[in-house]
Symmetry: C2
Amino acid sequence: MNYGIMGNILRVNLRKERISVEQLEETFYRRYFGGRGLIAYFLIKELEPGVDPLAPDNKLIFVCGPVTGAMISGSGRHSVGAKSPLTEGYGEAEAGGFWGVELKRAGFDAIIIEGKAVEPVYLWVHKGEAEIMDASHLWGMEIKKSQETIRNDLKDASVKVAQIGPGGEKMVKYASVINDMNHVAGRCGMGAVMGSKNLKAIAVKGDKNVNVANPESLRQLAQWMARNVDDVAHDLHTYGTGSFMNVYEYTGNLPIHNFRDGKFLGVDSISAQAIKEHVRVGMGTCFACVVACKKEVKVEEPWNVDPAYGGPEYETLAALGSNCGVDDLKAICKANELCQKYSLDTISTGVTISFAMECFEKGLLSKEDTGGVDLSFGNAEAMVKMVEMIGERTGIGDLLAEGVKRAAKRISNGAEKLAIHVKGQEVPMHEPRLNKGLGFGYAISPTGADHIHNIYDPLFARRIPEQYKGLGVLEAVPVGDLGPKKIRLFKYVMIWRSLDNCLVMCVFPPWSVQQKVDIVQSVTGWNTTASELMKISERAINLARIFNIREGFTEEDDWLPPRFFQPKTSGALSSTAVNSEKLGKAKTIYYGMMGWNKQGVPTRTKLEELDIAWAADEMNMK
Amino acid sequence: MNYGIMGNILRVNLRKERISVEQLEETFYRRYFGGRGLIAYFLIKELEPGVDPLAPDNKLIFVCGPVTGAMISGSGRHSVGAKSPLTEGYGEAEAGGFWGVELKRAGFDAIIIEGKAVEPVYLWVHKGEAEIMDASHLWGMEIKKSQETIRNDLKDASVKVAQIGPGGEKMVKYASVINDMNHVAGRCGMGAVMGSKNLKAIAVKGDKNVNVANPESLRQLAQWMARNVDDVAHDLHTYGTGSFMNVYEYTGNLPIHNFRDGKFLGVDSISAQAIKEHVRVGMGTCFACVVACKKEVKVEEPWNVDPAYGGPEYETLAALGSNCGVDDLKAICKANELCQKYSLDTISTGVTISFAMECFEKGLLSKEDTGGVDLSFGNAEAMVKMVEMIGERTGIGDLLAEGVKRAAKRISNGAEKLAIHVKGQEVPMHEPRLNKGLGFGYAISPTGADHIHNIYDPLFARRIPEQYKGLGVLEAVPVGDLGPKKIRLFKYVMIWRSLDNCLVMCVFPPWSVQQKVDIVQSVTGWNTTASELMKISERAINLARIFNIREGFTEEDDWLPPRFFQPKTSGALSSTAVNSEKLGKAKTIYYGMMGWNKQGVPTRTKLEELDIAWAADEMNMK
């Protein structure tokens, strides 16, 4: 169709075994782009409010963006969206790798999955068409074997597979969707929705080109990053994520013992540096990306860890490591591998286990509950065991598979206070008591606690980084500030970073604002600017919010768990916490800056300003 | 100091004969840029609310922008600002030519004039310094002679002079400031403020370079315009303004007989084509501009018109021509020359004369009042005579020198209904009954009726022009629409065009949104984007609004004169008019889209979002 866009959306109804292809106008793509923009559009338009996320009427959407598949660092991503079984609101997760590019090359910008298959199936997408295939022989398989089997069945070893493991099949509320074995759309429980549809996998094979309007200017941009990656992304390129863990422990940013404590002596043994020294056998990458931040680890004893499953990211090292009190790197590598095999989000898995450990410490869970496992903080074997039990939903794993919010409610007796989540989604591994803007971002994100489309306060505390200049934010703001200057910084940076949800691009290659504009111009040929792109992102953010409002979310859901209003027990944050009054004021300022009313509801005028007046009517349906 | 910026602001107190130079930080310039941004900043910070615009306590500000003096089409401009004696609110006018560039080259980004000189003076700015010079021998001179005299006195024929003629000296409420003989900062009566200060002229001579961060990329942009000007600005380049007058007459856009009637048979005799054929002797330009749209006309009988004063623009042709019923091109050329000699705004002059003509027709003014002049519509000699009488403030000219709002109040008996102004400023030459968005722009502009920083509806009625793509406006909107889609279009385009008030650039060279971003990047070296530039413009618009609110303006001042709520008597608009209910609704939508409250007052949160929280406190001073 157009540069950057294939122009086709694949719609598959699993119950009716009906497959169709829809074509949309160029202006539709330019308005909603991809990723969050398209997901929110279709979820609002096509879901009935109040639908059970695991019922057949929920829809599961796989979607690329206009730059997916262009030869430029950061473009090898796709999004997976649905109503979330974890938050019961707007759900979305992104993954890197090669699968999204392959989907585009198969001729599609998106796949919308409807209904539930009677028996397990997988979808085979190739040559602009799709087939629903029997998957009864794949059900129960962990993903490496499943991918091998699919490739054998299709007699093509180059087929790209996005799929769920047993955790997804069993609808663990925070199950992920994994593609290319070690690239994970982790958050919001998209894998559970996939499981609820009896859909094991989507295999794709492309044979088309993703056309680019201006290959020469794109090539120059790609060359710039290749030449400068070692300067502008040195640590990511050398270590991957997780190279600052000792700093994080020192400043208080590192979650320890279910976000409770401030000291963790074993931090150096679980860092990316330790991984490089002890267990790393290679570094992988995503399509066309020179940052190449993906670790591959190999362990032989006491556990065997297969490097095909990649290696732990920072979020995983902290969630399954320090936050569970575990300083055994090999155990973390094993737990990471198990999360991939079962298709579990490592953040939610880790936080759920740390929650269970604290319950165990407090006597809210006993050995009887755990099936004899000593679920003490720091017990590496117990941590690994719990991942397995969650993935299999056996014993206490069945309870923990529901996530901390639901598990705490079941356990009760004050367990709710130990459940570290926002809107039902477990909190990731940066500390709101230190980074007040980031914590605010956890509170207001439409997907619950989210660290990606957020600010990282220290980055803006001394000067505005060159990468972000061009947003009109000129003044540094201290990490602990939560006043109007911080909220303004948050709004501008968060909208810009959320653009990556629409493009769909990775936040890691440190493109400047103008460079990213140049990338979009080069790929699409659209005479676009940062101003238009900011509005596209803002439009998608508003749509996600409207979806939640229609589901009954209110401003009360924009809040942090009680733990963050108390200091840590030790370390740098032992005398500071989030101030609830300041957080409340920050919300009011933010709502105002977003053009929302005092209850955080986008006004009709704001939606008209964003060219989505239709969405105002959707909120009246409630 | 920095690329594009000289870093020095010259402050001159005429009463105390005190001259000083102030230096401001780079972030200050990046936040407020120049033009409207700087003017509004200083007027709010330094004027007492309620100050008499013609009292010594008003300040007169001459200001450039970051691109002034860079070698690129559109950069040869400056702004003149003060509290307006015409509107008693925020006043600002822009002019092209060479004076602004010379001011930059003399080492200054701006001059702030304070106080009133005891005797007539002029200011002589050169080599980073300034001197207050006696101007008693210049007082009363028309501007050509005055410029010659100053150059002789200073023994330098290349000195650039911005000055007032006798109209400014006599404080005609809509007196202009003229530079380089035929470049005019016309609107808002800035020349009257200059006259009130006994300041005849500012002569400047530069000896510095305006440094450019990336000369090569700027050169490429300049070359692009040079190569494409005949395609992208063909009519402006060939005819200057005024080549569509017959179309305007046909569609109803052309004001005729004080905006009352719809047919004007003589239209072809006063168009830019007629000028080219009959009276044009050359085309002039502004600094570095390849559009070169400035007519030079020569007439020898019955009047002598000196080509040194340029020639009439479209606004002048319509205001002194069709709107007065005058189809005598030579008379219009003479009246235009007189407006320059006296330093009068041609729009306000023409509309004031047409107002007087209608009063004469209706018997509200008699021959006794006019000193025997037959002030009938179409009487070319009478029109020319009136310009002279206004410039000299003789006879009825003294009344008309007050502008239509004050004159109508004096005449009374229903004359107010014939006074076509917004906020006291006479309406320019595009028709609100045809162009609903443009009319809306007249109503809400902080300077009263303004056609430049506005939309021209037909441009966006069939498709969005390539030049404006990149603003995120994808959909054409009919000329007559005044609903949310039109207001959104208006907001985005108006903010973008208002950026030219800050830059300070001309709207005529049709740079695309991204090209203008590229120009700013190339000149300043700032890693800026369209997103930041839109916010800079929005910031300046909010400051101008806040100035007016502090002066007591309310949402009631955002309105159109009664004539536009009635159809024209004939022609294309004989059965259509502005609908007051729709206009009221449009205001509410616009206020909302701007982040203002229902009374059109910017909220504190909006000002925090624009990084000008300090301005919220200014409104409490009232």
